[in-house]
Amino acid sequence: MSKVIKFILFTVIALVIFRKDYASIKKQKDKKEKRVYISTFFLGYILVSLLVLEVNLPNPSDWIKQAYQPILEPYINSLKSHKLLE
């Protein structure tokens, strides 16, 4: 239940931020500027909403780890052998 309250609260805050922040962009006539802003804002809003609703988001650090693991195998093993702890 508290998730939902948090989500609603965040939505309200996001709306307020949007109104305040969008005011400066609204004046410009460039349509692209508005489109880019609104789409990035919406994307950011969705991401934070997912976070607030405690959806498990994938961790990008894991992707980097997986991508580098095969190349770095010997290097990491060598480093680990010199580790002071354990």
């Binding site: 990035t40 650090s61 980097i64 002071l84």
Partner: protein, 370 residues
Amino acid sequence: MIEKGKISMRQFTILVFMYTLGTSVISLPSISTTFAHENGWIAVLMASIIGMLLVFMYIIISKLDEKKNLFELAEWIFGKWIGKAISALILLFILFLTAGNLRQIGDFLSTQIMTETPIQVLMVMFLLTALFAVKLGLEVTARTCEVFFPYAFFALLALLVMVTPTVDITKIQPILQKNMVGTFEAIVPSLGTPFLELFIFIAILPYVKKPKSARKGYLIGVGLGSFFLVAITFMCLTVLGADFTARNLFPTYVLGKTISLVQFLERIEIIVAIAWFFTIYFKIVLNFYVLSLGMSHFFQLKKTHTLSVPLAFFIIVLATINSPNIIYYLDFILYYWAPFAAVFGILIPVLVLIVGKIKVRKKDNITKTE
């Protein structure tokens, strides 16, 4: 040029100094000592020398065209599409870096100082303050940095001076006798935290008043910052010992705890902690600023801070999800960060430099034959 403000050489130097210290001032001693043991400070020293060489390379890159920043250079050298792709990669890296730094200060605060406050709240507060600076622009940030610089500088200097009575040289002996391989391998992770991230200043260099003195300031800033990093690592090792330094997540903070001047002046580590609070703050602000600037270039927007608010959402999300716990993140920093950052700090700059040089030479030839 989107950014209309200009900063002075002094301001730029101070920004570079603050950035170099950044998060490294609390985490680097631990990182290097983990692998290099009592030679940790030598690893940091060598990493700084390599770092200075890297800065030389970045300076040469910026000389290709003094008026273009990192993103403009990329587009100019590789053409529109490849340039944009490279810009996007760099932006993703900076986004990741900013989130990582935010996570680090959040971890530090929530484990050491504000133990009862949730980390998200601390990170949001910190990010909002950074957002305010980004919104106000580069000039204001630089001036603010100038105001806080004396505090950060003298507090760190005072830390170094005040722990000298407890220095025990035997703790780092024998120097460079044991664990040679480990020492040299420790250079890589040590290089990762500040030195491979320094390339972001190519994006700010065009906005310094005199390009020539700016380059000098770049070197001075990194040099001074490196000196502090080496000195603090040295002090950590000689006062706390290699084992203790490696075992601690924030050895510099523990080092501050050992200060005991007069009976009264105990537990003043928080005064020192405030100093690196400032350094990390300006590191995050600079990253955030360059990210915002880069996004504006990428989408060809008119202002530097147009997308700063949506970006703040991304950063806070990434800072929350990029590590389930503090150990995971430390592990990531120790093994994966340096190779990951090397792509952006070494590989891409080298590419830019080579292709750029060829392009400039071609252009010169054409003008000569005409």
